[in-house]
């Protein structure tokens, strides 16, 4: 019952949050300098031309009027029409979401595996040069921003040793027999491993660039948590049973140590998704981030609103899911 009440409360606050985001975004992008009409004015446009274009895109109304019209449409599933792409915003944004989700989840997977491995090494060989080495690696991974990792990867594994593809999501020459935009998932389900490998060939570098800072965060937190956990009585007991240190860390200490890391990983995942904006641009990856940059450059107001709302839904959804997962994994919350 407690969990159900908590879920209901969270959903209610989520809706309020989304409304707040919608209001802020709507107002901010309209009062910010630059408007799409000024950008599309041809040489020689008259005052009448400007008025005609302004009315055509509904920008001749007051901001509150525009907001009410837009919100009314959103409540009916109509996010408007993109000014630059001249297509339905929801269709465009949902079409791009799978690419960004697949990239983010791949990056998250890499970050977790890498972070956990580093934390394990530092804990297993604590107070040795190995732990110091892990700390140095963590420090470097954290202090270099993801877009610089991206450029470094392009210059090394893309140019100096051209192992991976530099741009795009999949090779243009491949015919994709897919019905969804979740290419990676669908290629696995259809056992089209040639396409899977081609996708990974394009996704590895951007995913690693996104993953490195997060892996360092996970490694640091998990290491601290593991160090605390391995001093607990039940872990000591496991040791006295004669299990190896590695087995004790992986089997007995890891589960409890994971809980605080899980919460933080959820928060960090939202930052990781935010990081896709620049990374997708650098790697010419056809996701939401790349789309968002064009939308901002072109002052495509409906598209910016659609992308930001979708990002907001993603972020609050992820946080909600993490909270629920935490409640399920933590017996004190589950029964309390």
């Amino acid at each position: 019952m407690n969990i159900l009440r908590a879920i209901a409360t969270r959903i209610a606050t989520t809706l309020v949050t989304l409304f707040g985001v919608a209001v802020i975004v709507f107002v901010v992008i309209r009062v910010a300098p630059g408007n799409p009409i000024a950008m599309m004015l041809p040489p020689g446009a008259s005052e009448e031309d400007i008025a005609r274009l302004t009315a055509l895109y509904g920008l001749d109304r007051s901001i509150p009027e525009q907001f009410v019209i837009w919100l009314g449409g959103v409540l009916q599933g109509d996010f408007g029409t993109s000014i630059s792409l001249r297509q339905n915003v929801l269709t465009i944004v949902l079409g791009r979401l799978p690419a960004t989700l697949e990239l983010s989840l791949l990056a998250l997977g890499i970050a977790i595996v890498l972070g956990a491995a580093l934390a394990f090494v530092a804990t297993r060989w604590r107070e040795t040069p190995a732990e110091a080495g892990v700390d140095v690696v963590n420090g470097i991974a954290l202090s270099v921003p993801d877009f610089l990792w991206g450029l470094a990867l392009i210059l090394t594994l893309g140019v100096a040793w051209p192992i991976f593809e530099i741009s795009g999501r999949v090779s243009p020459t491949l015919d994709l027999p897919f019905v969804t935009q979740f290419y990676l998932v669908e290629s696995l389900l259809r056992l089209r491993l040639d396409i899977t490998l081609n996708l990974l060939d394009h996704m590895i570098m951007p995913a690693v660039a996104l993953a490195l800072p997060l892996a360092a965060v996970i490694a640091q937190l998990l290491k601290a948590s593991l160090k605390e956990t391995i001093r607990q009585d039940y872990v000591m007991l496991a040791r006295t049973k004669g299990f190896s240190e590695s087995r004790v860390i992986l089997h007995d200490a890891m589960r409890n140590a994971l809980l605080p890391t899980l919460t933080l990983t959820g928060v960090q995942l939202t930052f990781l998704i935010g990081g896709t904006v620049i990374i997708e641009r650098i790697f010419s990856y056809e996701g939401l981030g790349n789309l968002a940059i064009d939308a901002v450059i072109n002052r495509d107001l409906p598209l910016i609103q659609g992308i930001v709302i979708l990002f907001a839904v993603l972020f609050v959804g992820i946080n909600l899911a993490i909270d629920l997962l935490y409640a399920i994994l933590n017996p004190r919350l589950r029964h309390g």
Partner: protein, 510 residues
């Protein structure tokens, strides 16, 4: 059941496949395929409406898929396209155009005079959202006789036929467009240009296939992939790693490095895009001495040599040497002593400098911010203290349309038809939303030229305007940009002065 051994075997096979997929493509294939890394994304496919229609950078893609009414040669000359002949009657009250016979759409159907008329009527209809409607709406009442189209001139527009080879001047297929609608056309565009669209992944790539029935002859490359790579570093990596055959608009220092590499070649072309500083006639720019001093104090050649690796052409009017009204006799030389004298005449000196703000973009054009920094340094030496404000290009457009730019504002101005009306005319005619100069004298000179039917007189008129502008210091033209293109030595590239990079102007190296 999957055993651990099986899993390891499959993993090893997968790793081998991954590494094979990632093998370098350093050895460019000389064949039917061509890959170009383009510097912008293609937002939409209808070249006649919306933001994309007035974006000069993507016209090269449109020109690959669609035909213009009148084609434009690489040197900007108008040449027969879907229209083979065009012209006015004696009193400029009617126009007549002949439509090419034998041209076909990508679906195999013939291009007809009805397609041309429908495209022109659609362009002239204010409801369709064509941003150049102000030109297309000046003709109407079309009639067709065989392959000849006649139309009434509602208002004389001297540049009408030049616009037919410029922004939104594209012929679209009437029957196909009406059957699929605007959204259907976006999803599956059909044109009559040298290439047809096979696959379009927005923000990723465009796959084109040669239109074998093209009236101008089948293109040399049968299959073309245009990758959209807006990040300059990534474009450099594309050619450096051998994954694209052609890249352009990369930093000049990278251009110099890449063209020296084995297997790569480079070409630079002055294009129809200039760097300039708008002068807004507000204080202190109402003082002619200040304006002229600001012009004479700038060493343009030094900017080109030091900041652009020598790639640029110094200009003193808004016309480049390729434009119709270029007049080499108009000169505003670098003369810091004269600048000092002019400022002194208005009571300014290095101890008592005149102050104003200059706005600029940063990273929108090559070394834009750095150029303004250098100019501010040159100004300081003669008694001008300028404060730099960096803004986004979107804000520039908004401020310019509202006539609220700072006293000085850096911008680039493209003019790929090379007509003076679309450079000096729109940039300096007060009522234009693109001008921030409101001087009655210049307005009075440009006004009669809009509808001047005598072409020689019109061009001479604009040359006189440019001379007057130079004498008044009403704008500071800086330089003509040079477009760098790097390509594999298996490809021959013909650059276009408009800056439109077109696959049909490329062929296997012979």
């Amino acid at each position: 059941m999957l055993t651990r051994r099986d899993l390891m075997k499959r993993g090893a096979a997968g790793a081998a496949l991954v590494s094979t997929a990632g093998l370098p493509l350093r050895a460019f294939a000389q064949g039917d395929d061509l890959t170009i890394a383009y510097n912008v994304n293609l937002p939409s496919f209808d070249p006649t409406v919306g933001l994309s229609a007035v974006n000069p950078t993507i016209q090269g893609i449109y020109q690959s898929v669609f035909d213009q009414y009148i084609a434009q040669a690489p040197n900007l000359d108008l040449v027969p396209g879907l229209l083979t002949e065009w012209g006015w009657n004696d009193d400029r009250s009617k126009i007549e155009m002949s439509v090419r016979e034998g041209a076909t759409w990508h679906d195999g159907s013939p291009v007809t005079p009805e397609d041309v008329v429908w495209s022109l009527e659609r362009a002239g209809n204010p409801d369709t959202g064509n941003p150049i409607q102000f030109v297309w709406g000046k003709i109407g009442n079309f009639s067709i006789d065989g392959n000849t189209i006649a139309a009434d001139v509602k208002e004389f527009e001297p540049t009408l036929f030049k616009w037919m080879g410029f922004l939104t001047g594209y012929v679209l297929p009437k029957a196909y467009y009406e059957s699929v609608g605007a959204e259907g056309f976006e999803n599956a565009p059909v044109g009559s240009g040298p290439y047809k669209v096979v696959q379009f992944e927005r923000n990723a790539f465009l796959r084109l296939e040669a239109h074998d029935g093209y009236w101008g002859g089948a293109p040399a490359f049968k299959s073309v992939v245009i990758k959209f790579v807006p990040d300059a570093t990534s474009r450099v990596a594309e050619i450096d790693s051998g994954k694209s055959h052609v890249v352009f608009d990369i930093p000049y220092e990278e251009f110099d490095r890449l063209k020296a590499k084995p297997g790569l070649k480079g070409v630079t072309t002055p294009v129809s895009d200039i760097a300039m500083i708008f002068i807004n006639d507000v204080e202190p720019m109402t003082d002619k001495n200040v304006r002229l001093a600001a012009s004479h104090a700038i060493d343009k050649q030094l900017l080109i040599d030091r900041l652009l690796n020598g790639y640029g052409v110094k200009i003193d009017t808004l016309q480049t040497p390729e434009y119709d009204a270029y007049d080499p006799s108009i000169s505003v030389p670098y003369d810091p002593d004269k600048a000092t004298e002019l400022l002194a005449a208005s009571g300014y000196s290095t101890d008592n400098p005149v102050s104003f703000k200059i706005q600029t973009t940063r990273g929108f054009k090559p070394k834009d911010f750095e150029m303004i920094q250098a100019i501010v340094g040159m100004w300081r030496k003669v008694g001008i203290e300028a404060e730099i404000e960096v803004y986004e290009i979107a804000k520039h457009f908004e401020l310019r349309a509202a006539d609220t730019l700072a006293p000085a504002a850096f911008y680039n101005w493209g003019n790929s038809i090379g007509d003076p009306s679309t450079s000096t005319g729109f940039a300096m005619f007060g009522p234009s939303p693109h001008s921030v100069w409101d001087g009655e004298d210049i307005m009075g000179m440009i006004g009669p030229l809009w509808g001047e039917p005598d072409e020689e007189k019109r061009i001479a008129g604009y040359k006189a305007v440019d001379k007057h502008i130079a004498e008044q210091g009403a704008v500071i033209p800086l330089l003509q940009y040079v477009q760098p293109i790097v390509f594999a030595d298996s490809v021959d590239v013909t650059p276009h002065v408009s800056g439109a990079v077109q696959p049909n102007l490329m062929k296997p190296a012979g």
